[in-house]
Structure formats: C-alpha cells, structure tokens
C-alpha cells in the first residue's frame, strides 16, 4: 500500500528537526518573517542538516520516534531537536549503515534470538524495510504514517511495537523497535561531533562531563561530591 494520497514531506527549514508538521514550501527567508506560526521550543532549534541517505519520509519517522522516546521537557529539548535524526542519517550513510563489521555470508535461516542478528539486511536496509513496514502498520491501524500521528497515538504505536504486538510485514516489530531505540539513544548520548546530542543536552541532563576525563586529582577532591564542571565535547579539543 502506498502513501500517495498524503502530501509529500518537505522539512520546514525554520522549524528545524523538532517538529513534524504539514509540508511547507516557504523558503527560509520568507518563513522567518512569520514566526508567530512556530511553536516556541522549535523556534530556537537549529537549521536542519542536509540528508545523506534518508528519504524525507524516513527522516520524519526518526524525528517523530526520537521526539516520542525523548520528549522535550525541562530536562532537555526533544530527541529530534537534539539532532538524533541527523545522527541516524549519518550513521546509516556511512560504514556502519552499510554493514561494516557484520558477517553477511549466507545461508540465512531463522535463528533463536540468543544467536543474535541473522537477517541478510545491513542496518541501512534494515531501517528502510522497517520504517516502510511500520508506516504500513500505522496506516492500517491509525490511518496515518507514524510521524503524522498525535502524540498519544505515537506513544501507543511505539508501545505496541515494543511489546511485539504491531503486525509488521516481514519484520518482527519487537526487533525493529529494539534497533530503533538503540540507535535513537546512541544519537542522544554520543559526542555531538556525530550530529546528535546538540549542545551536549543529554550530558548536561545527566551530569556526564565528557572530556578530557582526566580525574587523577578529582577522584579524591570530588569523593562523594557532585562534579559541577560543564561538559566538553571532542570538538572542544580539536
């Protein structure tokens, strides 16, 4: 089943990656003149990065999933706002996405879960197939692609996938969800040099100091005390 009836997605160049709203064909300069339409948190979001491998549909899916898994609150902006989808785009475009360090010789019979990943797909192909199947399932169940669902329906859809209750074509939803959660959290918690974790939002949230991580004296000085120095990224030392 295709999604032809729904208008194609164009990322809103003003809103950034944090929201998935209806398409806007407004060029950035003009859009900037109408800020009143913009929800407050996203208005401060950075401009979206150009996509390397993801389609607009796939990108919108990852943004919506990251926003649901890591919602914006007083602790941090949302996963999408932090650049998780940009992180995923770059990961899937590169060596990892194309099957680096993955043994890919056949045959590929189905294996017990304890034997680990046994599909012939590399991560790029896995998410391409998985997102298509997930959107197909949400269209059947909710009448819309995942990224166009209400917040409550998005949460319910993710929960169904997590519990293995979403009937997705050619892919167990539990397996898809686990991979989605993994790469989303990688994006949120990795060093910002990879495109996610913008402004070290997740590190500030938990109190992880990042670099340079030389604590020979601090391990004594901060014994039992909160370490209060602001985090620094690889980029700060490069």
């Amino acid at each position: 089943m295709s999604d032809d009836k729904i208008p194609i997605r164009r990322r809103n160049f003003l809103l950034g990656a944090g929201t998935a709203v209806a398409a806007s064909l407004t060029p950035p300069a003009q859009a900037a003149e109408t800020p009143a339409q913009t929800p407050p948190p996203a208005a401060n979001g950075p401009a979206p990065e150009p996509l390397l491998t993801l389609t607009e549909t796939e990108h919108a899916f990852f943004v919506a999933a990251a926003d649901a898994m890591i919602p914006a609150d007083e602790l941090s902006p949302s996963g999408g706002q932090c650049g998780v989808a940009t992180f995923i785009d770059r990961q899937l475009a590169g060596a990892y996405g194309n099957g680096a360090r993955l043994y890919r010789d056949g045959p590929f019979p189905k294996g017990k879960p304890e034997l680990g990943y046994q599909l012939p797909l590399n991560p790029r192909e896995f998410f391409r197939a998985g997102i298509a199947a997930a959107n197909e399932w949400t269209r059947k169940t909710y009448g819309k692609d995942f990224d166009r669902l209400s917040e409550a329906d998005r949460d319910a859809a993710l929960k169904a996938m997590e519990d293995g209750k979403a009937e997705m074509n050619a892919m167990p939803s539990r397996q898809f969800f686990a991979a989605l959660l993994q790469i989303t959290m990688e994006g949120f918690f990795s060093d910002p040099i990879y495109g996610g974790n913008r402004n070290m939002a997740s590190w500030k949230m938990v109190g992880y100091p990042g670099l340079p991580a030389t604590y020979r004296e601090d391990i004594k000085k901060y014994f039992g005390k909160k370490y209060d120095k602001p985090p620094r990224s690889i980029a700060d030392f490069s």
Binding site: A100, L102, Y103, P109, L115, I219, G224
Partner: protein, 591 residues
Amino acid sequence: MTITLKETDAVVVGVGWTGSIMARELTKAGLNVVGLERGAKRMPRDNFTIPSVRDDLKYAVRQELFQDAQLETVSLRHSPSETALPIRRLGSFLPGTDLGGAGSHWNGMTWRILPSDHKLRSHLTERYGKNAIPEEMTVEDFPVSYDELEPYYDKFEKLCGVSGKAGNLRGKIIDGGNVFEGPRQNDYPNPPLTRSMAGTIMEKASRDLGYHPFPAPSSNASEVYTNFEGLTLGACEYCGHCERFGCEANAKASPNVCILPALLADPKFELRTYAQVKELVYDKAAKKVTAVRYVDTRTGEEYEQPAGLVILGAYVFNNTLLMLTAGIGEPYDYKTGKGAVGKNYCYQVSGNSVTVFFGDKEINPFMASGAHGVLIDDFNGDNFDHAGLGFFGGAWIQAGPTNGRPIATRPVPPGTPAWGREWKKATAQWYNHAFNIGASGCNYAHRENFLDLDPTYRDALGRPLIRMSYNFRDNDRKLADYIGGVLGRLAKAMNPTHMSTPSTQRGDYNVVPYQSTHNTGGTMTGTDPKTSVVNRYLQAWNADNLFVVGASVFPQNASYNPTGIVGALSYYAAEAITTKYLKSPGPLVHA
C-alpha cells in the same frame, strides 16, 4: 602462487600479549624471530590520543579495535543436535586485532588462579570423594602447579606494573588483600588505585557481612612505573575509557607499552603486519610444523614462511582452527569422548549482577579505571564448602563502576520504562547515584561444550569458521543462582534506596549482550597425549617444534580474568624453550 621465503629460526603467529612475550624471550636467547600480525601496526602515541581516544561511539559501540566479524567470526549452536549459525555481529565477546591484540583494549584485571584451580580434578576428588565430579564435567588438572608457576605470575605482574594489595605474602595472611590467594613471594609492584565511592560502600557492606574485601588487582598503574624492560607506564587518570579503548596515559599495561618498544628495536625481530596466517604446513611423519602460510591482506599475495620453531599466539579460536585444519592431533569427538583438539571449550558465567541506587550519594561513575572495584573472593573456586550444594566452583564478586559513558551506562530503578517521560526523569535523577555489583563465575568443562569446524560458513580466506557447541549447563546455572543470592545479601547490606532483582543465568547462552572476552580451551594442556593437545610446556604432543600459547590451553576456566594466567604461562613456556628445547630439540615430556 605461493611465494616461499627464506627460513627463519622462529615464527610467532599473532602479536598480542603471548606473541610479544614469546618473541621477546626468543630474541633474547639469540633467535631470529618473525612476528606475523593480521592487523595493522597500532601504537599508543599515534592511535590513542586526546580527544579522539574518548570517542564512546567509535570505540565502545562501533567496535573500532576488535576483530572484524565481516571477515572472521565463529558460529554457535547450543547443542550438537542443532544447526549452528554464525555470530554475525560481535557482542558477547570481543577478540582483538592489530598489533597488541586485545591487550590494548582490555580492562586490566590481572589475576593468579587459586592453588586449587591449578589441580582442580584432584582437588575436588580429594575433598568431595572420587565420585563427586559428574561424568559429563570433563575438568582436569593444569599440569603446572601454583607453586611452579608462582615466579612467572610474579614476572608478568612486574612487566605490567600491577596495582594491588597482597593477601598472602609467603604464607602470611594480610587483611585488606585477597586472603584466599595462593602465597606470593612479592607484593604487587604498585599500591592499589584510589578507592571510589562505590568501592567504599562495597568494602563496608562486605565487612559487615563478615567477608574479606580487597582492591582489584589492576594493570592500570596507580603510580608511574618502569618495568624490567626499561619501559615506563604513566599513572592512571581514572578516565572511565578503559575497556574497549586504548589508554592515552600509557597507564594501562599493554604489549604496546610494556614490551613492544623493546622488541621492535631488536634487529633479531621482524614484524610483518597485514600478515594473516592461513594454515600450518605439517609434516605428520616427522612430527614437525615446517612452515606457516600467510596472506598479505593488502595484496592477497600468499607466502610460505619456513621456520625451525612455530609459536601459536593467536586468540583461542584461531589457535584451535589452525590445529584442526592442519590435522595436528586428534579432533575431539563428543560422542566417544576421544580426541582432544577442540575439547573443553569454556567461557565465563558472568550473567550475575544487581544494581543498587542511593538517593543521597554522589557516585561519579565516570571517574573510574577498568579494574578499579572492591572485590570479595569468599564465594570463589573452592574457597567455601560445596558439600550438598549440587555444583562446584564460584565467582569473584565486585562493586565499582568501570565507566559512566552514557550511551550504555545509565541505570534506572526497576520498573522504569525504557523510553519516554518517565524514563527521562529517572535517567536524569539516578545517573550519578547508582552502580552495579557484578560477578564473574567459573565455567567448568562439559562433555558437549567444544569447538570444531563449521560445515557451512566460511571466513574471508575461505576457511571454515570455528563452530562453537556451547551452552550454560546445570553446574553453571546452580552456581549462578547461588551467587545471585550472595549478590542480593550484599546489596541489602548496603541499604540502598532501590535495588534491582539479582540476575541469574537461567536462559540459553546469548551472543548479544557483552559478557566477557574470556573464551578458553580448544588446545588444552595436560599430561596425557590422548586427552590433551599440548604438554606442560605448551609444546604440541604431535609436533615438537610447535608451541601453543594462550588461554586455548586452559583445561577449564576459573572465575578469574585469564590474562594474568596467560602471561605467566607464556613466560613459563618461553623459559622451557630457551633453557631446554633449544639445547636438545625434541619432545620435552615423554608420555
């Protein structure tokens, strides 16, 4: 076409800990040695520098320093009645590659096994009766006793500048060290590392329960240290990037820091990188390995390197693979119990852990080294009475984080969802207020746990993958249940705000979550050529110029991380070669 090279005195297959030690000792004895390393030349000053060395995604998650599973992996089946499937992405264990091997990215736990571990079968039989060991538990004695190996343990500890505290110095028991260890002639070369908050909590809880806590024996130098090779280790920075990473401070002992600068400067040693050994050339009638064949992985060109002496210093799987493909010794048959190559493959029972949460304590988990915890050995090996328990062996138990790298380390209390608002709140709240108590359990050999050649799947050189037939068995599961109980008692004694339910080992062996890179066996050492592959000097029974060095010679796995034992056995074997074999080449043990 294979290009045949000029014969050398000795060739070493794999240049990690064992290959480096063997090559160093053989060149010191005057031999010309060629070291064949499948990976690249990797040295800390070029490869492990700030800021890139602190890249959690690249090293810890995307596996930068490990064997490339795309080229080489192993297959697994839980029992011989199943069809094995390849481990397509490394997870449960992470063998190294490149110069220095896994010695670059280990955590640094450096142990001696217990005197009773050295003579496991005789010890259990003596203490619990001659029928006590179940028939399917094919444990054996190490042919080398603790006392015989003691000077070599000592030497390896001095090579690495191990930090720790003796618990048994020449028979004198010392509180604060491991009081269960075998007698040592010397204390550790360095004092223990600075204790963390988690370690302090562990120490108190253990003492309250009457146990005997001690600091982890750690190859993360607590002080600047110069070893007997004249090479200097820096002092540990507690950076929390130890396991899976190289060390920018040169504080973590590795072949690259502790031995290779001296070896590479010796004109008697020639390192060849990108040289992957494909097979051994075996003259069965003469009982000699005459050469090794390797592929230059940059060009695909194949070479034959003739050598007077061949040292296998690859990881467990390749050591076993090279023996099986060359037909050296009899492959193990689980049905008859005959043959020894591939027999007694063991791992580690390390599924046990409990997480404790303290609302009022700042843990700072990111200030840590890889071997930095406080441990107890009260429930390890045969340190406690097993009468009536229904299992043998035990585990070391440790508390203290090795890192706070948040891609993987962000504990939340039990019942917290894995994502969404509640997850986020709990993650922010508890990140700095929790740590694990973990255990590493013995894994005793079982008749149906073994290695052989996979009939279907092949590596990038076209060789069959090693096929692992392996699962946790009755002994392992009972052991894990018992240790889970101890973990629960320890956690409760810490009086935490929350604690998780101690995990055990009930399910099948799962290749996905990391457990340990402590794979052992396949070319076991013993006293009988029918039931072992190498003799006490690690010399192959069926090829007297071939020595197999590494954890592949273990008859079973004690609970302890294997590197200390592997290092000691390397020095022991090297001395046998230089003082006995070179004077009179031939079998060193007549069976």
